[in-house]
Symmetry: C2
């Protein structure tokens, strides 16, 4: 399998954490991909019309995206404990948790595009304020999600979201408002799957 990736992407990290947790890191060949909403990348566009990472290309040439599809695919390819509960309330709780963490990232990423990618005179404070309202509410929701140390996909996604938020917004002190979430994050960050995938500049 070939994974188009960029080292700072939290959605790629989700895939790599799942690859570690399910013993599939050695099956994945990493292909670096430079992506930005305003740039062209013809190589990646041939595999994924949305031109985003992660994109996974299987041995038979089938491409899979986005991160949610890839992590579920990987979780179906191993015999160990599943990160996606098969059914019932446990499944919906895990999927809702993943959606909360992904939504936190989507909003924080839109803020970053606004304040880093967009030319300064075209920035709109109402937009970043609105996205950051979602980020803060998502942090509060994750704090109430009763996250475990034995991860499902909710914990994987939450850990990746918090790690990226620290990486890109180090000035945001979310720990004071959510001390229990902070200590959960400290603990899950020690898992080998997280320690091996910490975002680097």
């Amino acid at each position: 399998m070939k994974l188009f990736y960029s080292s700072a992407s939290p959605y790629v990290r989700k895939v790599m954490v799942v690859a570690h947790e399910t013993g599939q890191v050695d099956r994945i060949e990493l292909a670096p991909a430079a992506v930005a909403p305003t740039s062209v990348n013809a190589v990646l566009a041939a595999e994924n019309p949305l031109v985003k990472v992660p994109t996974l290309v299987l041995a038979d040439g089938t491409s899979l995206f986005d991160s949610r599809v890839i992590v579920e695919y990987l979780d179906a390819q191993h015999q160990g404990r599943r990160l996606f509960p098969a059914e019932g309330p446990a499944r919906w709780k895990a999927l809702r948790g993943q959606a909360t963490a992904d939504g936190l990232l989507d909003a924080a990423l839109l803020s970053r595009y606004e304040n880093v990618l967009r030319p300064e005179p075209l920035r709109w404070k109402d937009w970043t304020d609105g996205q950051f309202r979602k980020v803060r509410q998502a942090l509060a929701a994750l704090a109430e999600e009763d996250l475990a140390t034995e991860p499902t996909i909710a914990e994987v996604a939450a850990g990746c979201a918090l790690g990226w938020f620290d990486f890109r917004f180090p000035e945001e002190d979310w720990r004071s408002a959510h001390p229990a979430l902070a200590s959960w994050f400290a603990k899950i960050s020690e898992r080998p799957s997280f320690a091996a995938t910490t975002p680097k500049a």
Copy 2:
């Protein structure tokens, strides 16, 4: 179940099409919700920290979001033909198709926010150009997805994406470039589930 909705949202339409296809429309109480990335909606925020529609609140008070989680939940609550294939290549194809259609919508919606919501002097053409590149590539990818008339979640999502694209970007002539996709869309639009949920201004 209570569904927070807005009548023009294509992600809400996905949920409603699935509710029709699976015979669950009568179980859903509709709660209108005004949402925009720059606005506050405290009622909806109490159920979904990302303050987006659709949000589904179950009888026991559990809230589910986003649209992908809700449609999979609804599909697990009936005894008829499933819209989510249970496993194997059929599942990954259906999920990839849904991701393509949702990604088309995400990009088209960001373009619309740029050109309708954002004050005119702050608009950035590189941004809308980049998002529209994704939209056009996603249209081409949907044209190659071998969509069926007996829908899986891929067909539901693709039909909702094309319907919303017509509704909000009527000047975009995608049919000339993709005549087979256009005739597939004309056919699926006649299904009762789609005819009952056509977006209205």
